[in-house]
């Protein structure tokens, strides 16, 4: 097993540093070290040409800033080089498969970027007179229509800024509906499956709800009997991810919804995994009352290294009147943005409040709209089918090499556990880090919590069969190596990344959260 793999990388692990002598610069060919901008400070240099203003009398009162800020001076070429060099230390979906389960790392079409940069969308102020932003309101209204059709829900709140923010919005609408019914104080408990995303219990806690965990069955789904036993007059809602975080469709979901409604509670669905069912199954048909949609997952807006996202929330008939401000209505004289409680009252709705300044993530709306229009209803259905097909292909191809806790079919994610690593001395973390050496971003690790040493793989629909075959082949090799006592390949991994394993314990124990200039006094000590 020597030589090169199919991506041109040596497959032998080698010892870290064996062929790796220290260069004078610290660089290793194209692997470049890069200082912080503060260490590149060239006082007097600038990346902008501005004229000094004249002919005015300052009106700052006693508020003029006196001290130096401490920002470094850099010319444009220096700035360009710094960030280009930094960028080369990053893995990205454009460069390779990014199989992070729960994250839906699909291709980000550049048409979307181009459309979002049209001056008519990008260079428009949120508080311009409404007659000057009719196209922006039309886009929001059109996107809302698509989201409602795709989910089979009658209303959508567009303003939430990301998935967790959407959860908060949906749960606030539920709380407002309960308060309106006079049951706000009575219903204090939220049922959340053990396998849920961390944001679900964190959101419920923000609203002062008591979180009550629902156990999972041996087949990775909600334990229906245990769930029903927990229902009661003090339950406000269930927060359920479907397809769930084990990558499985909750077979009993309609029965769950019926039972929730029977008990006078509401059904919040975490829509993080909507990609598996878009165009094929409508959450509204399943009995969902509220569900956020991560536009940065299902509808391809780029993750950007951690945002921005967008988390519109679709709402059922029962919750629609409580949607937050603002919202767009379409009247005889065009589109109108309802921004204040007074206007909403005149419309007969009862918004629970406001999630955010202005109107939401317009830049993400445009990108998502371009994506949806490109696919159409036929293409979106194909998205779900190919996403599910790709995940099942991985599950079927690897279940005898790794270990799968649940029987298929899965939905858009294939879940494995760490039983195949038992006795090898290789942990889930080591296995994942070894994937970096093979040129891949690792899958999601140790989530969901209900599976020991979980490895959650979400290939998405934008990977070709050829790419999947390479990936599957790599994982087979790695599984074989782990079982074949090739431990150092794993425990020392990654060997070939810009950095070896980083000391996270040190970072947390002694937090260094900003660069500090060494003062002369410290230097003297």
């Amino acid at each position: 097993m020597s030589g090169m793999n199919n991506q041109g990388r040596p497959t032998a692990a080698g010892e870290a540093g064996s062929s790796d002598f220290e260069t004078f610069t610290g660089n290793k060919g194209l692997r470049l070290e890069e200082p912080l901008i503060f260490e590149l400070d060239n006082p007097g240099a600038t990346g902008v040409d501005l004229d000094e203003p004249e002919g005015y009398e300052p009106k700052l009162g006693a508020f003029e800033r006196k001290a130096r800020i401490g920002l470094p001076g850099m010319s444009e070429p220096d700035v360009m080089r710094h960030y280009v060099r930094l960028s080369r230390k990053n893995y990205s979906i454009d460069a390779g498969l990014y199989p992070l389960g729960s994250c839906t790392m699909k291709h980000n079409p550049r048409l979307n970027e181009k459309m979002a940069r049209l001056p008519g969308f990008a260079d428009v102020h949120p508080l311009q007179p409404q007659k000057t932003v009719q196209g922006a309101l039309e886009l929001m209204d059109t996107l809302a229509h698509w989201l409602k059709e795709l989910t089979g829900m009658p209303a959508v709140a567009m303003s939430p800024k990301a998935g967790a923010h959407g959860e908060l919005c949906g749960m606030m609408a539920i709380r407002a509906a309960l308060v309106a019914r006079g049951e706000g104080d009575k219903r204090t408990r939220i049922l959340v499956p053990e396998s849920a995303h961390g944001t679900n219990p964190a959101t419920a806690a923000l609203l002062q709800y008591k979180v009550d965990a629902i156990p999972a069955t041996a087949d990775g789904r909600v334990d229906l009997a245990a769930f029903k036993a927990k229902l009661g007059p003090d339950v406000a809602a269930i927060m359920l991810t479907n397809p769930n975080t084990c990558g499985l469709f909750e077979r009993d979901i309609m029965e769950i919804a019926d039972a929730v409604h029977e008990a006078g509670a509401y059904f919040y669905c975490d829509g993080a995994n909507f990609n598996a069912i878009v165009g094929r199954v409508r959450p509204g048909d399943l009995g969902v009352d509220a569900m956020h949609i991560n536009l940065h997952k299902t509808f391809s807006t780029p993750h950007g290294g951690g945002g921005p996202g967008a988390g519109p929330v679709v709402l059922s008939e029962a919750l629609a009147p409580f949607a937050p401000l603002p919202y767009v209505v379409h009247g005889a004289d065009g589109f109108r943005l309802v921004e204040t409680a007074g206007e909403a009252k005149a419309d007969g709705s009862h918004p629970f409040g406001r999630m955010v300044a202005f109107h939401g993530q317009m830049g993400m709306f445009v990108r998502a709209m371009a994506y949806m229009m490109s696919h159409g209803s036929d293409g979106l259905r194909q998205v779900a089918e190919d996403a599910v097909l790709n995940a099942n292909y991985i599950l079927a191809s690897l279940k005898d090499h790794l270990s799968a806790p649940f029987e298929g079919p899965c939905m858009h994610e294939a879940l494995f556990d760490d039983r195949f690593l038992k006795g090898t001395g290789v942990e889930t973390l080591d296995f994942a880090k070894a994937m970096i050496d093979e040129g891949y971003h690792p899958m999601t690790m140790y989530f969901p919590l209900v599976v020991h040493g979980a490895l959650l793989i979400e290939p998405t629909e934008t990977e070709s069969k050829h790419t999947l075959d390479q990936f599957i082949g790599t994982l087979k090799h790695l599984a074989q190596a782990a079982k074949g006592n090739d431990k150092s390949r794993f425990t020392g991994a990654p060997h070939f990344a810009p950095r070896h394993r980083l000391d996270e314990t040190l970072a947390a124990r002694n937090p260094v959260l900003r660069w500090q200039a060494e003062t002369p006094k410290q230097a003297a000590e």
Partner: protein
């Protein structure tokens, strides 16, 4: 479909490996009642040309800020963004990377977040900053919740000149937790707000914005002292981050938390989002902060590197005991911010702030020369409030018809207060020319 690589032959072959007859077979766990055979009632797929044509047509129905003399602020500001910024944030390695959970292959993201945190701390005059929030308004609300955790008290006191949307977001989040909020009535610029007398033994924090909703610069020192004397925190809100190039930072005036809107640096108007929330505080509160934090460490070879840290505050570890439910934040907007600020540097940033101030002073002088117009502010940065002889909403409407976007009627965000009907909040940045000012004055004279 151009984004979907599987061919019909691939699909058949893959189904064979799986042992499924058809794709429908893979959806067999979906209850039969909920399966849909046909397409959803929406248009079918379109080529790039068709999509571009349709969206360009929609965009053309909007008046873009750059196409007219433009003077609207109110928490979002029109600035010039150097072309390098947009080029760099569109690099695949930044644009299409995920949250840096695997630090060995995301040092690019982590290092710029570390640089961003340092820049925000320097600008605000604070010890530490996080890796961004959604925007200024949610950063503000999260700061109030943090103050509740720190002081173990529940009541926030909000200045009446806090941006009305920020106030609404704070009230919404506090109400969710059953926490009381006391919000003062808006004091007009030039009038001092008596917020100090509202600080009591149960006050967790005082929230004051500078420049205020009306553009007035607010002295935080006495408020900070009074808050601290009662064991409360002072949260300073900075809606226009460029002001920090010229104005004493809240950190030097005793603020315990500084939150702000970072849109002005590196980010376009985008009709309200995405923006980038800034959140900075003192070292002693760092474990109570919301959001992601990037920290410096070393790798197995002892080389400097960066990781997400103190994540025991966060939802993916602590679940219902987390300091916030935030997950995805504004990474790419923070990148745009940090690139633009690197281009500006110490000298350029201060000079940009001076140009903004100079343009606003010149505009204020020109507008107050119009008969019946009165400038209300004492001290301001790049935004101020004028009193008109008639309804500001009607004036802005008429100005728009003349091709001038001439500010924000104060009553748009605070409806129903007769004393605000004639007030117009006007902003001016480096984009405005002498020509723009002359057009504004001429149009205003015509519509008054």
């Amino acid at each position: 479909m151009r984004y979907l690589p599987l061919t019909p032959a691939d699909r058949r072959e893959m189904l064979g490996v799986i042992g499924a007859k058809s794709v429908d077979d893979l959806f067999r766990d979906v209850p039969e009642r909920a399966r849909r055979d046909g397409f959803v009632d929406l248009p079918r797929r379109q080529g790039e040309l068709e999509v571009e044509r349709a969206l360009t047509k929609m965009a053309a129905k909007n008046v873009s800020a750059g196409s007219v003399p433009f003077f609207i602020g109110g928490g979002a500001y029109c600035h010039h963004v150097p072309s390098v910024v947009d080029h760099l944030i569109q690099r695949s390695e930044f644009l299409t990377s995920y949250t840096p959970y695997q630090p060995e292959i995301t040092q690019g993201t982590l290092q710029y977040l570390f640089e961003f945190q340092t820049q925000v701390a320097l600008l605000t005059g604070m010890d530490v900053a996080n890796a961004s929030m959604y925007d200024g308004s949610t950063a503000c609300a999260e700061a109030v919740l943090m103050a509740h955790r720190v002081t173990k008290r529940k009541k926030a006191v909000l200045s009446g000149t806090l941006h009305p949307h920020y106030r609404a977001v704070v009230e919404n989040l506090c109400e969710a937790g059953g926490d009381p909020v006391e919000a003062l009535a808006p004091a007009l610029p030039g009038k001092t707000e008596d917020i100090i007398s509202r600080i009591a033994d149960d006050t967790s924090c005082v929230v004051v914005q500078t420049p205020s909703y009306f553009g007035e610069l607010i002295d935080l020192r006495a408020i900070a002292d009074a808050a601290h004397a009662k064991g409360a925190l002072l949260i300073a809100v900075v809606p226009e981050v460029v002001s920090l190039g010229l104005v004493t930072p809240p950190g030097e005036m005793g603020a315990d938390v500084v939150v702000g809107e970072g849109q002005s640096i590196g980010n376009g108007l985008n009709f309200g989002g995405p923006y980038v929330g800034l959140f900075a505080t003192r070292t002693k509160y760092v474990r109570q902060m919301p959001g992601r934090l990037c920290g410096q460490t070393v790798d197995a070879e002892g080389k400097r590197g960066f990781v997400l840290t103190l994540s025991t505050r966060e939802q993916h570890i602590r679940r219902e005991k987390a300091t916030s439910n935030i997950c995805t934040n504004s990474g790419l907007c923070a990148l745009a911010f940090t690139i633009h600020l690197s281009l500006l540097g110490e000298d350029g940033f201060k000079q940009l702030a001076r140009i903004n101030h100079a343009n606003a002073v010149k505009l204020g002088r020109a507008l107050s020369g119009v008969a019946g117009v009165e400038l209300l502010n004492g001290a301001f940065f790049n935004e101020f409030t004028i009193r008109l002889p008639k309804s500001a909403t009607a004036v802005v409407d008429a100005l728009a018809d003349k091709g001038v976007l001439g500010g924000l009627p104060a009553s748009r965000l605070i409806p129903g207060d007769a004393s605000l009907e004639n007030l117009l909040i006007v902003a001016s940045t480096e984009i405005n020319t002498d020509h723009d000012r002359a057009d504004f004055v001429a149009a205003l004279k015509e519509v008054l």
